[in-house]
């Protein structure tokens, strides 16, 4: 169980925060955004960090989940959970079909293909007015309820989104230490070598792509219900870039790195608001400093340094 000690501490902190600060704006309001971003960053890290496949279109799957929920519940009156499942199925099918041709590409070409995917989906959200409500978006989603309890307050949403986030973190941690995870890092290291070891690299890559998209789609459905509003710009190209930044900032290939990166990128704008006009400048400065001095990402670099210091001390004594 030692393997999951870090996770247990993390989960305990997340679940205790609202009990200690039930009325704190940063916990019950900003916290919701942070959890969603963490989930998305963790899912993207599966693809980027573990399998080494860059994606600049991750927001598209997030958006497809959100819009599926919004459209199916409002226009077709479906049960919210059913709509969520149908949205997930849609994303599974779409990402599976796309994964084979897209993941055959490498490097810049893969980046371009996923970028294109993100932009196409975004244009669809903007232009298909009749279905998506165009740039004004859709509002008026039914309230989600779980075991007969309506999830209608910030604090209830906190626990729902927190649970989903913790599940995705746990899933990601487990994958890393499994056969599939080792196959992924083999693919990351060298595809040819991985093939020589008997790994079906195309299959491995496409599976992780689908998983990652599925996690994002479910997060999208929850996001749509929590915000009670979806509009195209929440799923734009820039959001995809933000997600990539979260993963890189925290440290590629580390689940807790993605968690930390998402946390920092979500909380910073809220804190930096005191700088008003200089907000963006300070924000950029902080990112620059982190990437210059801790190029492997915040979490990974700090962890390595801590490990180094500990081992030095061990030698000294």
């Amino acid at each position: 169980m030692k393997r999951l000690a870090g996770f247990a501490i993390f989960a305990a902190v997340c679940l205790l925060l609202p009990v200690i600060f039930p009325d704190n704006y940063y916990v019950t309001v900003v916290g919701l955004t942070i959890f969603l971003n963490i989930t998305l960053a963790v899912s993207l890290n599966l693809l980027m960090g573990y399998a080494g496949q860059i994606s600049l279109g991750h927001a598209a799957f997030f958006g497809l989940g959100a819009y599926s929920s919004a459209i199916l519940t409002i226009k077709y009156g479906l049960n919210p959970w059913l709509a969520m499942i149908l949205g997930a199925v849609l994303v599974i099918c779409l990402s599976y079909v796309l994964s084979r041709p897209i993941l055959r590409l490498k490097g810049h070409y893969l980046a371009m293909a996923t970028l294109g995917l993100g932009i196409i989906v975004h244009i669809f959200f903007v232009q298909a007015d009749e279905l998506t409500g165009g740039p004004d978006g859709i509002t008026g989603l039914p309230t989600l309820s779980l075991f007969g309890v309506a999830i209608d307050s910030d604090i209830k949403w906190y626990f729902v989104l927190c649970s989903y986030m913790l599940l995705s973190v746990l899933f990601s941690l487990n994958i890393a230490d499994s056969r599939a995870g080792r196959a992924l890092s083999a693919v990351h290291g060298s595809e040819i070598a991985a093939q020589m070891m008997g790994i079906d690299t195309a299959k491995v890559k496409s599976h992780i792509f689908v998983f990652s998209a599925l996690m994002a789609a479910l997060a999208g459905s929850l996001f749509a219900h929590q915000q009670d509003f979806v509009s195209p710009e929440s799923f734009s190209f820039f959001f995809s870039i933000e997600l990539v930044t979260m993963v890189v900032l925290g440290g590629l290939g580390s689940t807790f790195g993605a968690v930390l990166g998402a946390f920092i990128l979500s909380i910073l704008p809220e804190v930096l608001i005191v700088f008003e006009d200089f907000e963006v400048l300070v924000f950029g400065l902080i990112l620059m400093v982190i990437m210059i001095f801790l190029p492997e990402g915040l979490f990974v670099s700090l962890k390595n340094r801590a490990a180094m210091m500990l081992s030095k001390r061990g030698i000294g004594s």
């Binding site: 309001v29 903007v126 232009q127 165009g134 004004d136 509002t139 008026g140 009670d228 710009e233 809220e270």
Partner: protein, 383 residues
């Protein structure tokens, strides 16, 4: 000793009375006005004058001792025109800053995104955005001051009817304002006996619209309507001139800023648009009730920041409708302020004369729009 004790008691009583007296004067709670505007980003030309107007007048009101002694505390966030940010900031305004009134929501998308939050939290909200969807159907806590796209479309069609135009071509962008305006045009045209013979679209970031305009040239349209804001309409105007299309061109109130004339240059001449009276304030007849208000606002704004636009005027209207409502309510209780905003009657603002009611949370009629033609690079009031 006893005498000394008495003196002390007396002093204590006096000082207490004095202290409580002063605190009574100061204790009048401050009125917290929250605001979320698109001060930067693509809609900054709307949000920037709005913010400046609010800041300028709130400073003035506070310097004069506030509203019935209530000083105004102003909290503002920049949404950059993004609906998601707007939602976050309105949550922040309500849950963290605990504001009494919200004025803002520069773009229709931003305003529509926050309606359910303000309705749930029961905070009066005056929107500064155009779409009619904001107040139709009426929502209890939501008001707005700018003219609607529906009014703009009606004003344009009424003018076409006057000129005997029966067939019109429509060209619109992909923004929220454009799409909403397009829908209103399509819905209202039959009412005025006008046929829409072309319905072309462009992306707001496009730099050339000649393809769409060539298609329009091939139809038998007698006039072109372009619903949009930002730099795209200026490009449309230029392209029309380059293609040598001689048809009358109508723009929406979205281009009612000097910036449009600057961008379009010569091509702007002859274009007609419905707009608030502010941009032609000095051309209004002397007996126009709005003239005094408009000139005062224009003078004050231009002395500090440079040329006015109608968009800052919407913020002026929203702020003073709130101020009047607080004065009448005599308290800063949110529900009472809301009730008084709804009772706004005969308020002379920059956008027109506002008469709100439980069924009308805008309170402007078609007269609030003036038909304007651009002549020699300047606005000319037609009627």
């Amino acid at each position: 000793m006893r005498f000394f004790k008495n003196i002390v008691t007396l002093l204590a009583v006096f000082s207490l009375a004095f202290l409580s007296g002063t605190s009574l004067v100061q204790a009048k709670d401050t009125l917290k006005i929250g605001s979320f505007l698109a001060v930067t980003g693509p809609a900054s030309f709307l949000g920037d004058p709005e913010l400046k107007t609010l800041q300028m007048y709130i400073e003035e009101i506070n310097a004069k001792g506030g509203i019935n002694g209530h000083k105004i505390e102003f909290v503002h966030y920049d949404t950059k025109g993004k609906a998601k940010e707007a939602k976050n900031f309105v949550n922040r305004l309500i849950k963290k800053d605990k504001v009494d009134v919200i004025i803002g929501g520069t773009t229709s998308g931003n305003s529509l995104a926050v309606i359910d939050i303000v309705e749930k939290a029961k905070v009066p909200f005056i929107s500064l955005a155009g779409s009619i969807k904001i107040v139709e159907p009426v929502k209890k806590w939501v008001f707005k001051t700018p003219h609607t796209d529906k009014m703009a479309a009606e004003k344009i069609f009424a003018d076409m009817k006057k000129r005997g135009i029966k067939k019109a071509a429509l060209i619109t962008g992909n923004g929220g304002f454009d799409k909403s305006g397009r829908a209103q045009c399509l819905a209202l045209a039959p009412k005025y006996g006008i046929e829409i013979v072309a319905d072309e679209k462009y992306g707001n970031a496009d730099t050339d619209m000649t393809t769409q305009l060539t298609k329009i040239r091939a139809t038998d349209a007698q006039a072109i309507i372009n619903f949009g804001f930002g730099k795209a309409p200026a490009i449309v105007a230029k392209n029309i001139k380059q293609l040598g299309i001689k048809l009358p061109v109508y723009e929406s109130h979205g281009v009612a800023s000097k910036k449009f004339i600057e961008l379009a240059g010569d091509a702007a001449n002859g274009i007609r648009l419905p707009a608030a009276a502010l941009i032609v304030a000095d051309q209004l007849p002397a007996d126009d009730p709005q003239k005094k208000v408009l000139l005062a606002y224009k003078k004050k704004y231009e002395a500090k920041y440079g040329p006015v636009s109608t968009f800052g005027g919407h913020a002026y209207d929203a702020l003073f409708i709130t101020v009047e409502a607080v004065k009448r309510a005599g308290t800063i209780d949110r529900a009472k302020i809301r009730d008084e905003i709804e009772k706004t009657h005969g308020f002379v603002g920059t956008g027109g004369i506002f008469n709100m009611s439980p069924t009308d949370h805008l309170g402007l009629n078609l007269d609030a729009f003036k038909m304007i033609e651009i002549q020699n690079g300047n606005w000319k009031l037609l009627y």
